[in-house]
Each structure stands twice: as structure tokens, then as C-alpha cells.
Subunit: 273 residues, 2 copies
């Protein structure tokens, strides 16, 4: 029997998952959150399925020590590669960011042409296509890996001519195909929303899976009778942040994404889990 | 007593160290090489000293199982952060890329103004400055972190307007200071030599530590009477490559750097060492 007042565990390869945390904070503000960012082994997007699955399994073990009542895989690559396997290994309800994003994209498109920008790993897994076709069998889903987007975001070049130029190169083929819906299939990418939106133009709807994930998480907790009914008390350590490296740098970046004011992030040795 | 015909161990966070391997192949062609690229945990440049040291220690343990007669730390960040500590923990002679690069820069400069472009970790360690000042106490050493260079190289944008633009931004302050010598302080950067050279102009000498490292390795092996006197036989597995992830991708990239023709790279789980 899970405890309603237990925290939700959220993990990502680094800082990108904080765009999901931000949505959870907005939509279900009573919930406590334990976040883990694997900053020592970031990025996941260029790694193999085996490696990403091994890393994800270690993180789930860590989150179990934090007695979480649910786990959000707030990383597209881990959702694509590892979720199916790791959710079988525990009783804790688990959701990823891919399914919610796929669902809303399938519901949004008019012409059936959907683009997915993501890491190499997520694109190669074809997972968005698989989930979208479960809902809309005749959809035409085109993936495009954008390996420079994460480093550009981490370098702070959110609005910059260089980012514009790189984005144009990545997005041209999606424009040529005539997609009407574009999934921001990596948790860093919502931070490039205005750049991507400008290039794609008004006719293309951008889907941010973070928003949908928070909404589905709320439904899941409600269904399992796990929603926290009371606001956590002050001093109750509502939000806790763990990383595998570089706590100070994480804190700076995190505070630029979520307005909550992260006072500290703790380093743990994730390889021990 | 070490065996002369034993291989040399070379390691890096990923593929960059192959620029060092290339020089070793050229300068001491009789030597066998075992290369390890930590492609599962790349990059090291943005990670902490503790993490890079832990990773380096695991790799040294792996290379010991390969019975290497010497170890080359072909990664500037690992040389900067971990070498002092890990070389005390074994009897195997070990050299990094920083000291050789620092020495030649100190000998090259006329006006005493030396620039170092490198990862965040290497720059923050101030290690080039420390070694240069041991030789030339009045040198003025200015470090500049270039975090986008590694992703740009790995994306194959070696000669590209975007790389030019980013390089100009990074290098402007070094040009303004009037340096006459620039150390390419990350093993990926020799691949951007022509871009960097064009921006810095003819008055600035570019120092590639890989070349000097191979030269010093040869001297070290000679001094320790460890030079291999005979060419390895065909079928003797002269060059062996190991990675922690993505063997196929590594092979493709490796073959673009060294002309030897890498037929295979083996994956090992480095966390077990």
C-alpha cells in the first residue's frame, strides 16, 4: 500500500527533465518531488539501449530508497529505450514522456503528417511512430535527430543566430514534407520553443510532452488514489534534487528553468545502486 | 619487469584520444596499442574532478588486465584532474597530454602570452598555466573554455560557417590579448585546426599536444628500455580498440581520424572495473 504523502520520483539524464518538473509543480502543486539528474553520465541521447536501460535501472533503485509513490521517466531517450523493461521490475506506477506526447500529437494533426525532433536514440527507436500509429494508423511520422540542440541549450544560446542556423538545417526537411504537428521529443527542446516555432511558422502546432505528462500523471495518481490531499508543511522538504555530478552547476541551470528557488542539490554515486 | 612487446594502453573519454593514437602510430610504429574510449560516459570536460578521477581509475584497472607496459592519458581533462593521483596507484609508467603540450608552448612563445583552449574542466584546473610557469615563470597564460567544440566535431562540422562563428566568439578575447601561441588543449581540437588557424592568423603558433605526447612517450619507453624492437607479426592484433558504448559509431568516427582501418571495437562494461 503506497503512501499518499510520499513523493513522486522524477528522473532525467541531466537538467532537461526539469521542464517536466515545472509542469508537475504547476498542475499538481500539493505533490512532493524527488528529482534525480544523471549529470555524471549525461547525455543519454547518443547512447545504446543497453546502456540507457542499465543506467535507468540504477536510478529506479535509488528512487526506491526515497520511497517514492510513482516514477516519471522525464527523459525521452530513457522512455524510449528503458521504460518497457524497467516498469516490469517494480510495483511502483511509472510513466514516461513519450506516450503522452504521442497521444496529443495524434489528436492534434489534421493532415496526418507529424514530425518528431529528438535525440539520436529516441529517433532510432521509432517509438513515437509506434505509439502514434496505435491511435492513428495512417499517420505519417517523420523523426529528425538534432544532436546539437542539447549542447546549444546547455551553453545558454536559447535565442541566437547560431541556434537559428542549426535549427533551420535540422527542420528544413520537416517543412518540405509539410508536417502540421511537431513533437518536441527531448526535454531540453521546450527551451528552444520560440526558435523552433519561428522557423516552423504558425501552421505547425508544437507539442510539448512535458505538459501532457503532468496531466496524465495527475490522472494516474487520481485513479490509484494516490493524490496528496494536503499541502506539505513548511520545512517538509517538498522538493529534493539529487545529481550524480556538478551540484552547483545544476543548481544554477535549474533555477533558470523553474522559478521555485532550488537551494541545494545533493550528489550521490549512482553507480553504487 | 615489464615486457617490451606488451602493448601501450591509451585512454580517452571518447574518440578524441585517437588524435594521440594517430601520432603514436606515426612516431613509434612498432608499438602495439590498446585503446579505451569511454563513450558511455563521454564527455569528461564538464564533469567534476572526483568523477573524472573515479572514471580514470576504473579505466586504468581495465588496462592492467590487458597487461600494458605504459599508459597514455590521452584526454586533457583526465590528465588535468586525475593523472597526479592515479599514477601513484600503480607501477606502470604513465604520461598525460598536458605536460608535453605545456613544455612546447613555453618553448615556442616569444612574447610570453599563451592561450589555452580546452574543456571547462581543464580550464578551471589551471593546470597548463601551472606547468608552463614551472618552465617560464613570467608567462601570461589565458584559458578559454569552448564547450561547443566537441559536439560540433562529433557532428562532423569541421569546416562550416557555424563552427567559424562559434570559434570567432570563443577566440576573440585571445586575439585581443595578443597571444602568440595557442594550445589546442582538448584532443578533439586538432580536428578544428584549420578553422582555428584561419581565425587566429599566421602570427599565432598552434600547439598540438598529441604530437609532443607521442615524442615524450618514445623517450620514456627508450629510457625505461621498453621500446619494442621488432615489428609485431601479422595477425598479432597490433591495435585493439575498446569502448564502453556504441562500438559501430566509434568505428565510423575512428576510421575518419586514423587511416589504419579499424575493423572492430569491442564493448566492455567499464563500471565493473
Amino acid at each position: 500500500m503506497m503512501n499518499k504523502s510520499a513523493p513522486i520520483g522524477v528522473f532525467d539524464s541531466g537538467v532537461g527533465g526539469l521542464t517536466v518538473v515545472r509542469e508537475i509543480m504547476r498542475q499538481i502543486p500539493n505533490e512532493k518531488i524527488v528529482y534525480f539528474g544523471d549529470t555524471a553520465r549525461v547525455p543519454y541521447g547518443s547512447k545504446s539501449k543497453e546502456t540507457v536501460t542499465r543506467y535507468s535501472r540504477q536510478i529506479v533503485r535509488f528512487l526506491q530508497t526515497q520511497e517514492v509513490k510513482a516514477i516519471v521517466v522525464a527523459c525521452n531517450t530513457a522512455s524510449a529505450y528503458a521504460l518497457d523493461e524497467i516498469e516490469k521490475e517494480t510495483d511502483i506506477p511509472m510513466i514516461g514522456v513519450v506516450k503522452p506526447g504521442a497521444r496529443v500529437a495524434a489528436e492534434t494533426t489534421s493532415n496526418g503528417k507529424i514530425g518528431v525532433i529528438a535525440t539520436e536514440g529516441t529517433v532510432n527507436s521509432h517509438i513515437y511512430s509506434r505509439y502514434i500509429k496505435e491511435i492513428k494508423a495512417d499517420a505519417n511520422v517523420v523523426g529528425k535527430a538534432c544532436p546539437l540542440f542539447v549542447p546549444l541549450v546547455e551553453e545558454g544560446l536559447l535565442q541566437d543566430p547560431v541556434t537559428d542556423e542549426i535549427a533551420k538545417r535540422y527542420l528544413t526537411e520537416l517543412i518540405d514534407i509539410g508536417i502540421d504537428t511537431l513533437i518536441l521529443g527531448c526535454t531540453h527542446y521546450p527551451l528552444l520553443r520560440s526558435t523552433v516555432g519561428k522557423i516552423m511558422g504558425e501552421g505547425v502546432t508544437l507539442v510539448n510532452p512535458a505538459y501532457e505528462t503532468a496531466r496524465e500523471l495527475k490522472e494516474l495518481l487520481d485513479r490509484e488514489e494516490l493524490l496528496n490531499e494536503e499541502e506539505p508543511k513548511l520545512g517538509d522538504n517538498k522538493y529534493r534534487f539529487y545529481v550524480s555530478d556538478g551540484a552547483e552547476k545544476f543548481k544554477r541551470f535549474a533555477n533558470s528553468i523553474i522559478k521555485y528557488g532550488i537551494l541545494s542539490a545533493k550528489i550521490i554515486n549512482i553507480e553504487e545502486y
